[in-house]
């Protein structure tokens, strides 16, 4: 396997290096990828068409919103998949190990207090990242991961149960579903109002704004949906992986 792998790797690598000879230089502003009308249009027209200064957010949630919908679905799928894989009958061995582990935990005062202090700040920051995605780097994914991270931090520094008391696994999956539903629901509303799927400009009647601002609002709505899904799935994945799908003990 090792020699076979090495041969395959060397051949592929040689092929890729051979092709890279043909690439435009790194950082060349006149490379085809940057010169072609797609990229030009995105840079020049995004603000005009969606009134979002952060081009990445606008392309992510609007021009290529369909991609992002399925990106959210990928995360959602991963969450469901991990539950489906790990859930099973309870194994005695693990339960024993968990019992011994429990005692070590509870005593660490500094850790507990720092965490108590940090978690709300992290969550606040996450909300800021989600909401400010139009104007600065960030958006639903990043904010969602950070929010999920705050729950993971809670679970690591106390016990998994502490975090699960606040957001149980069932709730997390429910919230993740709601997130995907928000995203696709906005798309569906567009479809029902007579536009194409995910054509937010059609929402302008509903929101009482002009079509361009409607796109901006649509993007915000979509980002919120993404954040819901990502935050809750990140936590659900952690909860499952750290406890072997048993929701007990954990890291």
């Amino acid at each position: 396997m090792k020699t076979l792998g090495a041969i395959a790797v060397i051949i592929t690598g040689a092929l890729l290096l051979y092709a890279s000879e043909d690439f435009p230089a790194w950082g060349d502003p006149h490379s085809p990828a940057s010169q072609y009308r797609v990229s030009q249009h995105y840079i020049l027209k995004t603000f005009e068409e969606t009134s979002v200064p952060n081009m990445v957010t606008a392309i992510l949630a609007d021009y290529r919103g369909y991609d992002t919908l399925f990106e959210t679905v990928v995360i959602f799928t991963a969450g469901i998949a991990i539950i489906a894989i790990l859930r099973g009958p309870i194994d005695k061995r693990v339960r024993l190990r968990l019992a011994s582990e429990k005692k070590l935990r509870e005593s660490n005062l500094i850790l507990a207090q720092t965490c108590r202090l940090l978690v709300p700040i992290i969550q606040l920051f996450a909300l800021y990242v989600i909401a400010h995605g139009h104007h600065s780097p960030g958006g639903g994914f990043q904010g969602g991961v950070i929010f999920g991270g705050s729950l993971i931090l809670l679970a690591i520094s106390f016990q998994l149960q502490t975090a699960l008391d606040r957001v149980s696994e069932k709730k997390a999956i429910l919230l993740a579903g709601v997130g995907v539903l928000i995203y696709s629901g906005i798309g569906l509303v567009c479809l029902l109002l007579g536009g194409n799927f995910l054509d937010y400009s059609i929402l302008h009647n509903l929101l009482q704004v002009d079509p361009i601002t409607a796109r901006s609002h649509g993007i915000l709505g979509v980002e919120i949906g993404v954040a819901f899904t990502v935050a809750s799935i990140m936590f659900a994945i952690y909860a499952n992986l750290s406890s072997r799908g048993r929701m007990k003990g954990g890291l």
Binding site: L15, L16, Y18, A19, S20, E21, D22, F23, P24, S31, P32, A33, S34, Q35, Y36, R37, V38, S39, H41, Y42, D62, Y63, R64, G65, Y66, D67, F70, E71, V73, V74, F76, T77, A78, I80, A81, I82, I83, A84, I85, R87, G88, K170, I173, L174, A176, G177, V178, V180, L181, S184, L188, L191, G195, N196, F197, L198, D199, Y200, S201, I202
Partner: protein, 508 residues
Amino acid sequence: MVDQYPAIILLAPFFAAIAVSLFGSWKNGLCLPMAIIALGISLAASIALLGQVAAEGEIVYLLGGWSRPFGIEFRIDPLNAMLLVVVTTVALLTAVYSTQAAVLETPNKYPQFYTLFLLLVTGLLGMSLTGDAFNLYVLVEVASLTSYALIAMHSKRAVLASFNYIIMGTIGASFYLLGVGYLYIKTGSLNMVDIREILQETGLYGSKTIMVAFMLIMVGVWIKMAFFPLHGWLPNAYSYAPSSTSCILAPLMTKVTVYVMIRMMLTVFGPEYVFQYLGWSNVVVWMAVLAIVAGSIMALAQTDLKKMFSYIIVAEVGYMVGGVWLANETAFIGAFYHVISDAFMTLCLFLAAGAIITKTGKRSISEMEGLFRKMPWTMVGFVIAALSMIGIPPTCGFFSKWYLINGAIEAGHWGYVVALLFSSLINAILFFKVFEVAYFSKPSHGQEKDENQPESAGTDGVGEPPATMLAPLLITASGLLLIGIFNQDIVILIRQAVSSFGFIGFLN
């Protein structure tokens, strides 16, 4: 509403998946009806869309209302319209089949199973619909992630098979992604049609990057469809998966990926580039020959029923890849016709295998004694599928082979003809081996067998499977005959699509 069919096809299973995940754990009984209703809607919409495409030609659906190179679009021509009907039909039949099977095989994961199942169908539908090269990658990943999980949900061996599938599947998808990146760095576009136009207009045919991009995409897609030297992950994954999973994965995953390959070759790079400029068809057809021969021989060596079927799939992938790369219209018609008929043949085989395994608990061919007596209707379905696999006239398997062989003769590729005939012969041997055991041998150890059987089987040996398992099987079997009988209509549709690609004149 009429112009929203493409969205409806995709969204019906998608929303059903979310609904199942939201309400499924609250009421398990809701999962299956929701799945069946959604797939029914999707099937109806895809049939309507097929009618529309057949009448009006290619349909473009702009997502988000953004025009061609800026947004993502669905492009539906007769080929993928037919594929959509195939995918939704197979999914619907499998959903009906899973009524009992899912309860038996994944008892405590009922909502998860249906969520993943519907998302898998969504991914496959999206893969066939999309007209955007990068979007295809995302949907490939949706379909792959769900299939990893669906496979790993079951037995011990399935978990390991799933891990190998994750590794191989990720390599395949990443190669595809890299190939798209290579295309992007040279063309600056991600839209399939747009890429082809830029390639033609700016004279990029000679570019090394484009050639390597083509190789990367092909290798990536071949890994995903288990083309012979890259097939390693498939047999274990499909044969150890729970039966309702293998019933949906085995017929659809490889076929949809073959369609992706067709789309990449014809829509993105264009037949001119692939067949005329590169001129690799001969090499690839020989690889296909190798795949057919190797797949058949490996199938012959198997004792496990489902594993034997999995190796037959490896051989069948060789048929389709070879047919496409023969680069003439007849062979292409054969290849695409085979995509359709093979989806149903494989479904029929796996449904039969699933029914047999659930009822008897036996996986090995040598343990199939007396099945004709015990489960006559199941075996009727099995026999029709087997005849189709071998290529006996009224079934669809005959017609696809007919076109493939004619195409190969047209292209003067005798190696492929021989391989096809050889593989049919091996299939005949394989299936008659099964028939022999199932029809002629009597169960040697009559009474003590009962203890090994699952609770579902009655106390006095084995009977027919429940109606929810039998009905899809028989519908599929009759479908095989219908596809065979109405082959002309399908061929006309394929020809309509092929004529727009302009195949004639690319003989090698």
